[in-house]
Symmetry: C2
Subunit: 159 residues, 2 copies
């Protein structure tokens, strides 16, 4: 598995460079209550994302980050991770779910695995890479499962 060390230049991968089953591990991001409240205030102002006391009476049982916050942090971890996709990390579509609430003090890390590689039939300059990304905390609990359909450039072949 490729890990991302600080200071190491990321690899830029074209569609032709990907291999099914290859995995990439991101850096980590430590989440605190201040970040959770800031994101929730702006984008998801619900009691269980804003106030620990109010959250205790809810399904979450205590303050939890918005799922969209977990998703956004995961995107940052991917973008700053060990590989870059040629043309940028552009998702055509995603599926995601959040099996475990993300809590203050959680240290998030994302692991991505290449599941499928499909050259476009109509556009010879690109294709689709299906990627599964699991975001875990420091206890290995799965905070988010994501399956992404990524648009990736192909190498321009000398003709």
């Amino acid at each position: 598995m490729k890990n991302s060390d600080q200071g190491e230049q990321p690899n830029v991968l074209y569609l032709d460079d990907f291999q099914i089953g290859e995995r990439y591990l991101s850096n980590t991001h430590t989440l605190d209550e201040e970040q959770i409240l800031a994101f929730a205030t702006q984008f998801d102002p619900q009691p269980f994302h804003l106030d620990d006391n109010a959250a205790r009476a809810t399904l979450f049982g205590g303050l939890a980050a918005s799922g969209w916050h977990t998703a956004a942090i995961t995107m940052r971890l991917i973008v700053t991770g060990p590989v870059r996709y040629a043309g940028g990390m552009i998702g055509a579509g995603v599926e995601l779910n959040w099996p475990t609430p993300t809590r203050p003090g959680d240290i998030l890390q994302a692991e991505s695995e290449i599941e499928a590689i499909t050259p476009s039939r109509s556009r010879p300059d690109r294709g689709i890479v299906m990627v599964r990304t699991i975001t875990r905390n420091q206890r290995g609990e799965v905070l988010q499962n994501m399956r992404s359909k990524m648009i990736v450039s192909r190498r321009i072949s000398p003709s």
Copy 2:
């Protein structure tokens, strides 16, 4: 269709109150370049989300908001919209895609439609509501399609 007027109290809906086919229209959110750059700097620092010139040479053809930014704004529009779900708006899972890039100056509005209502077999106090939410800009272009599996409380029946 129910619209949300400022000053009007939102309706709190229990699972039993939903009806398939019912639609809800949110308020609007006007997006500017400053917001796009702030979000991208924090969560999705890629050239096409940070720099209009750099974005011109990419698939986006100009500055575009991160898809996660569109998703986060949509969440805000839903949470501040005309209805509240009993127990809060808690998504067990979502699917989303972004057919049109979200641009500076876009005015976002979310329309949600109830697609299915399924009481839980194992948990009599809750159920699942499947909701489709389309986020459009002021020209009616679809910026985001989302299908959400929402966990909704049931009314406690007097026994």
